[in-house]
């Protein structure tokens, strides 16, 4: 029984972290229509920045700055924001497809850098012993995880409230106007490019925060954690939960993470040992099928109540 409860706590912590990332993507895609498929890259920048800054002196990679944990989190967001600025500036004027290609390119490049800069990131070995807040205060691992869950839920709540206020402010209404009809928004004097860039940078910073929380909770990161599959999971969360709705983004994170962990357990239980290595492939195929079906039959997701998807200009056959 206690095993189940402690698993539930572990499960919810990760669900909440993915909820944060999903909220960041929702600002970009759900509210602004920015097609970012490099989520894993921004998540990685946040995770590595946090890990490098907060870690004590270690051999094998850059570190030893011992920056206080809250400051490291903020720095992780800032560095991710700069990365988003660099990638958004040349590409946000172009068609959505170009942003998609550029963001997947940056995610790919970040992973290459993480794998090959031993001095900075520890290369494929990754970074160990990433510090956690108040790590010595709690007696048992379980108690600590309960505390961590409360902390992550609080952060998720703060991000949620902040985003709700932002998207319901005049600023957020401009984003949605640009999403629905850029020409109309421009004709009333709104600089669409500037708003897009703001949304892209803020959304990416939230993804960076998610990455920092992940590194902080798992205590170990390596380039393996930032595969395109992560981007795919976050997108599945947002689309299934309902883009253009912050509650949908969080709900989707919970549901897809449940589906992912559940299918992982199932794969372990029913597949013969010889097929276990392929278990991950089966999980991705399952999520992919659910996602495809959602896109085809319920493109707005469970809670997506707004018209969150821009109709194309040129109609193809």
């Amino acid at each position: 029984m206690s095993g189940l409860v402690s698993y539930l706590v572990f499960f919810l912590i990760l669900a909440a972290i993915y909820g944060v990332v999903s909220l960041g993507l929702n600002l970009q895609w759900g509210y602004t229509g920015l097609f970012n498929i490099g989520v894993a890259g921004f998540f990685a920048v946040g995770a590595y920045t946090y890990a490098i800054l907060a870690s004590p002196v270690t051999s094998g990679h850059l570190g030893g700055f011992n920056v206080p944990i809250p400051l490291s989190m903020v720095a992780a967001m800032l560095v991710t924001g700069v990365a988003a600025l660099v990638i958004g500036f040349p590409t946000l004027r172009l068609r959505d497809d170009y942003l998609a290609i550029a963001t997947i390119g940056i995610a790919f490049s970040i992973q290459l850098v993480a794998m090959n800069t031993q001095w900075l990131t520890g290369g494929t070995q990754g970074i160990y012993n990433i510090p956690q807040p108040l790590a010595n205060v709690f007696k048992s691992n379980f108690e600590y995880n309960v505390f961590f869950l409360a902390m992550v839920l609080l952060i998720l709540f703060v991000v949620y409230i902040a985003l709700e206020r932002m998207v319901h402010s005049p600023w957020g209404r401009v984003l949605m106007a640009i999403r629905e009809d850029e020409t109309a928004a421009s004709s009333v004097g709104k600089n669409a490019f500037s708003y897009r860039l703001q949304s892209f940078v803020i959304g990416s910073m939230i993804m960076g925060l998610g990455g920092a929380l992940y590194a902080c909770f798992i205590k170990y990161i390596s380039p393996q954690d930032f595969q395109p599959v992560l981007t795919f999971q976050i997108w599945a969360m947002l689309i299934i939960g309902g883009s253009g709705n912050n509650r949908g983004a969080v709900l989707g994170a919970l549901l897809v993470w449940m589906l992912w962990s559940g299918s992982g357990t199932l794969v372990q239980a029913i597949l013969p040992a010889s097929l276990q290595v392929k278990g991950g492939a089966f999980q991705i195929i399952l999520i992919g099928l659910v996602l495809m079906l959602t896109l085809i039959f319920k493109p707005r997701g469970i809670l997506g109540n707004r018209r969150a998807i821009i109709p194309r200009a040129k109609q193809a056959p």
Binding site: G33, F35, I37, P90, T91, L94, D96, D97, Y98, A100, I101, A102, I104, G105, I106, F108, S109, L112, M115, N116, P228, V229, F232, W235, I239, V277, K278, G280, A281, F282, I284, I285, G288, L289, L291, M292, L295, I296, P299, I309, I310, P311, R312, K314, Q315, A316, P317
Partner: protein, 299 residues
């Protein structure tokens, strides 16, 4: 030294060029960036592997100093046919319903999802380890002073050039090819003039997927067959298509060669580990300086 990198770059560039043609055709005629195109390359390579394995018993020797014989040629054709079928199936199951519902970005995202699915089906069916069409070791011969190439590499470059010429003749001389160009230029006008747009869409997939299959087998022949090969090639493919001017078939060929050569020549200046990122950097520079690409006209 540079001559050798140029030669290697032309081999890789031929592969990228053939893949980029399919990408540029689907972008132009179906109007979306198809991220699953890389996975069609992988599937082409694996379909080819199935044929090569099936014929392993009836090995009729090899052509001259090439590492393969007739079975490989049969495999090229078989892989092109099966990959075309796969592309049509994916179009029918996924892209066609989304085209109907008029959601452009969902189409791009669905292709991203489809690419991951297709790659993972490869892992399920064939396993994650690298494969080869032939275990024989090829000797590279000196074809120019300081430039060594294997017979297989020369075959890849020559066949790629032949296929580009055939494609050129197809697009300029046949009725179907002209219909495809007309549809790409102006969909509404093409419909009014009585072009069967559905047929054009199907043939776009067939041409794109066949070239992707050949490109995949070229990569398998000169490098190796790996489930993630197509996913890793997607960025160079997009870079080539964008560099050439998206929608332009000749631009895609030129872009493919430039990207391939740039990747291999870059090894002289940077660590080979960053070779795949070269395509991305070139692409960003092109987007900044000339978003329509070298030969592109459309925005």
């Amino acid at each position: 030294m540079i001559g050798q990198y140029l030669a290697d770059g032309i081999v890789l560039g031929s592969t990228i060029a053939l893949g980029a043609i399919g990408l540029t055709l689907t972008y132009n005629i179906l109007n979306f960036a198809n991220f699953a195109h890389g996975s069609l390359l992988s599937w082409g390579a694996y379909f080819g592997l199935v044929f090569v394995m099936a014929f392993s018993g009836v090995q009729g020797g090899t052509f001259g100093s090439l590492s393969f014989g007739w079975p490989f040629i049969v495999a090229l054709i078989g892989a092109a046919v099966l990959t075309s079928g796969l592309a049509l199936l994916v179009d029918w199951l996924v892209f066609r319903p989304l085209r109907r519902s008029n959601i452009q970005v969902a189409l791009v995202f669905a292709s991203f999802g489809a690419s991951l699915l297709l790659r993972n089906f490869i892992v399920v069916f064939f396993g994650p380890e690298p494969r080869y069409y032939s275990n024989s070791i090829q000797m590279a011969k000196e074809i120019l002073p300081g430039v060594r190439m294997t017979a297989d590499q020369i075959f890849v470059v020559v066949l790629a050039a032949v296929l580009v010429v055939v494609l050129h003749l197809f697009l300029t001389r046949t009725k179907l090819g002209k219909a495809m160009r007309a549809t790409a230029d102006n969909l509404a006008l093409a419909q009014v003039t009585g072009i069967n747009v559905q047929g054009v869409v199907r043939w776009t997939w067939v041409v794109g997927a066949s070239l992707a299959a050949v490109a995949g087998m070229f990569f398998g022949l000169t490098v190796q067959v790996l489930p993630e090969m197509g996913f890793n090639l997607v960025l160079p493919l997009f870079a080539a298509a964008i560099l050439g001017g998206i929608g332009s078939v000749y631009g895609a060929v030129l872009g493919g060669l430039v990207i391939g050569i740039a990747q291999d020549v870059s090894v002289m200046f940077i660590s080979p580990a960053y070779k795949p990122a070269v395509a991305f950097v070139i692409m960003i520079v092109v987007l900044l300086v000339r978003p329509t690409g070298i030969l592109g006209e459309k925005k």
